[in-house]
């Protein structure tokens, strides 16, 4: 059994691989994501994921909503008010001379502009993966690349991995009996089949702006840190890295993100912790409670009263 929490240099070796490969991962630079959703489509195509609804959600232009059993890449569209451009900033306004623009009646200092944040989310392939740790059948396993994969022919559909994931990634597939792998837990495999053949995962291959970058995690961490530093030096003070620290609650992610706002704005937890960090303590409390029940039940039989 491997370690349950904390920094860990090589998860594949920790999981028992004799010949672990360099750990692979994603670096998703949201500052250059254009929201084209090519990654979502490429993922669906390559992995033969069934269609899971074409509803218009109405809250934004994002209609695939969230990561799930049949959405392994998800591009979030965040429409948010941005501070009005400072006077003399050179930001152009649309020439509309004949009609009054909405908000023109308001004093200029209260007007707001809008900005779009786009972010392509994916399974984090955590260093300490709660989904993998709680899986009762071993259907989830750590690959030689340090990633986390579900074997759909072993999965029992017990659903335990679903509430275990601190990022809300993995999900049991719903649908009628004609749907592939219905009742089975599904998530991003980091294209395990492509990795084995020396290929790039489908989403990274399809990304037209190189917002999704694939490679050795060590190198990606350096690249991400450099990119964040570059953006900050260009005046983008809100640029920050997510999932990059091996000191965080999941021991660091196999998928890093460069974000332009707080994680929760993108639907990410601000301080995720793998639940197994506290598992030894949980078993201890349950053991004490069990001994208490045994002792208490024995005590009820002592004494004279029947």
């Amino acid at each position: 059994m491997g370690s349950l929490s904390g920094p860990l240099q090589d998860p594949a070796a920790d999981a028992g691989w004799q010949d672990p490969q360099p750990r692979k991962g994603f670096f998703t630079d949201t500052s250059i994501c254009i929201g084209c959703k090519a990654c979502e489509v490429a993922c669906k195509e390559w992995n033969a994921i069934p269609e899971d609804g074409l509803a218009m959600l109405g809250s934004s232009y994002d209609n695939s909503e969230a990561l799930g059993a049949s959405t392994w890449r998800h591009v979030a569209f965040i429409e948010q008010p941005a501070p009005a451009a400072a006077p003399g900033s050179g930001r152009a306004s649309l020439p509309m001379p004949t009609t009054q623009r909405p908000g023109d009646a308001l004093p200029p200092e209260s007007r707001t502009d809008f900005r779009w944040l786009m972010s392509s989310d994916v399974c984090k392939h955590c260093t300490h993966a709660a989904c993998l740790d709680v899986c009762p059948t071993g259907a989830l396993f750590r690959t030689e690349f340090g990633t986390v994969v579900v074997q759909d022919d072993v999965c029992n559909g017990c659903g335990y991995c679903v509430p275990a994931c601190p990022f809300g990634v993995i999900e049991r597939r719903e649908g009628d009996e004609h749907t592939k792998n219905v009742g089975i837990a599904q998530k991003c495999t980091l294209c395990y089949d492509r990795l084995g053949a020396g290929l790039t995962p489908a989403c990274a291959q399809a990304c037209p702006t190189e917002s999704i970058q694939f490679g050795d995690l060590d190198e990606l961490r350096e690249r991400a840190a450099a990119r964040a530093e570059t953006l900050r030096s260009q005046g983008v003070a809100e640029a920050r890295l997510y999932g990059a620290s091996p000191e965080d609650g999941v021991g660091g992610s196999g998928a890093l993100f460069l974000l332009l706002d707080e994680p929760e704005v993108y639907g990410l937890p601000p301080d995720p912790v793998v639940s197994t960090r506290d598992l030894p303590q949980m078993w201890k409390q349950a053991g004490i409670a069990a001994l208490g029940l045994l002792a208490g039940a024995a005590a009820t039989f002592l004494g004279g009263s029947r």
Binding site: P7, P136, Y160, P163, E171, E262, A286, A289, G296
Partner: protein
């Protein structure tokens, strides 16, 4: 601690996913507790010469574990999947540990329970079956005692099953949940045995019921006061109603047991209250956790507070 009034999320969508579990799972939690507590009463009744308590304990234990097994199989979808659960044994997976506990406890409880049923109809058995019946009845004591040794773990591991998740209310309650669950198990099994056992043999059942009810109420109180904002789902909506019902029923049952537990009517009514209270506790805690997963507030706000307090998650 007053939570941040403002918090942001992605269009109000959940951050973590609620479990896909349905009523099978809270029923399974309740029945596991009932089976564990009943096995203890059955073994105790056997060892202290209370045959009626022994019979009720063993039969209740067999019945409850059989139905809980059926609930688990129903959740999985088909029986072969239960066998698939036994392909590995993983201490990091409470579900795996629980499956193994069930696989050890289930046959022991079934053997002891079947022996009681065979014993009751022994005279009507044909002569050819008298031998096997005698053997079965002789085996029932070691089986019952072995089952009773495993039983407390059957009653308590389900607390770890819920706590070892990212579901905010379940995970935050990790220190108190085992005590709530064993208390609830003791109250339910004591209550059921009180209902079905003649009063002169039900003394241990009454004491177990009252002790369990007090443990349940005290641990639940500590849990709800310590949890802060993630305890909100335990107080509001349908889960809140279930939790209030569970407290009322458990208190009524405990007081009734103390005041009228020796009368037939008193023990039946008090026992029924305790069983119902335990059902409400399991369903209430289950649904409160589901609610806490559906609302991103319960994931984001405590994590924000943790960051604000500078407590590093990994430290």
């Amino acid at each position: 601690m007053v939570p941040d009034a403002t918090f942001t999320s992605y269009y109000g969508r959940p951050v973590v996913k609620p479990s896909p579990w349905e009523a099978d799972i809270p029923a399974y939690l309740f029945l596991g507790g009932l089976a564990g507590g009943s096995a203890l009463l059955g073994a105790g009744g056997d060892l202290t010469g209370r045959p009626a308590l022994r019979r009720v304990g063993r039969l209740a234990s067999m019945g409850a574990i059989t139905v809980s097994f059926a609930a688990l199989v129903h959740d999985l979808g088909k029986p072969s999947r239960f066998v698939n659960m036994l392909r590995v044994a993983k201490p990091t997976s409470p579900m795996s540990m629980g499956t193994w506990l069930l696989s050890v406890f289930g046959p022991l409880a079934a053997l002891a329970g079947t022996a009681e049923a065979v014993d009751a109809m022994r005279d009507s058995l044909p002569p050819s079956l008298q031998g096997p019946a005698r053997l079965l009845i002789r085996l029932s004591r070691p089986a019952g005692i072995a089952g009773a040794i495993v039983a407390p773990a059957v009653a308590s591991y389900t607390a770890v099953l819920l706590a070892d998740t990212a579901t905010p209310t379940w995970n935050e309650a990790r220190n108190e949940l085992p005590y709530v669950f064993v208390g609830s198990a003791a109250a339910a099994s004591g209550g059921l045995a009180m209902m079905l056992t003649p009063g002169d043999q039900a003394g241990p059942a009454r004491r177990l019921a009252v002790g369990g009810a007090l443990t349940d109420l005290a641990a639940a109180h500590v849990m709800e006061t310590r949890l802060g904002m993630v305890a909100d789902p335990l107080h509001t909506g349908a889960p809140g109603q279930l939790m209030r019902a569970s407290k009322t029923l458990t208190t009524l049952g405990a007081v009734g047991t103390l005041l009228a537990g020796r009368t037939r009517l008193g023990s039946v009514l008090s026992g029924a209250c305790l069983v119902a209270g335990s059902v409400c506790t399991r369903f209430g805690i289950f649904h409160a956790g589901q609610e806490s997963a559906r609302d991103p507030r319960y994931t984001v706000v405590p994590q924000r507070e943790r960051i604000a307090q500078g407590r590093s998650a990994g430290a």
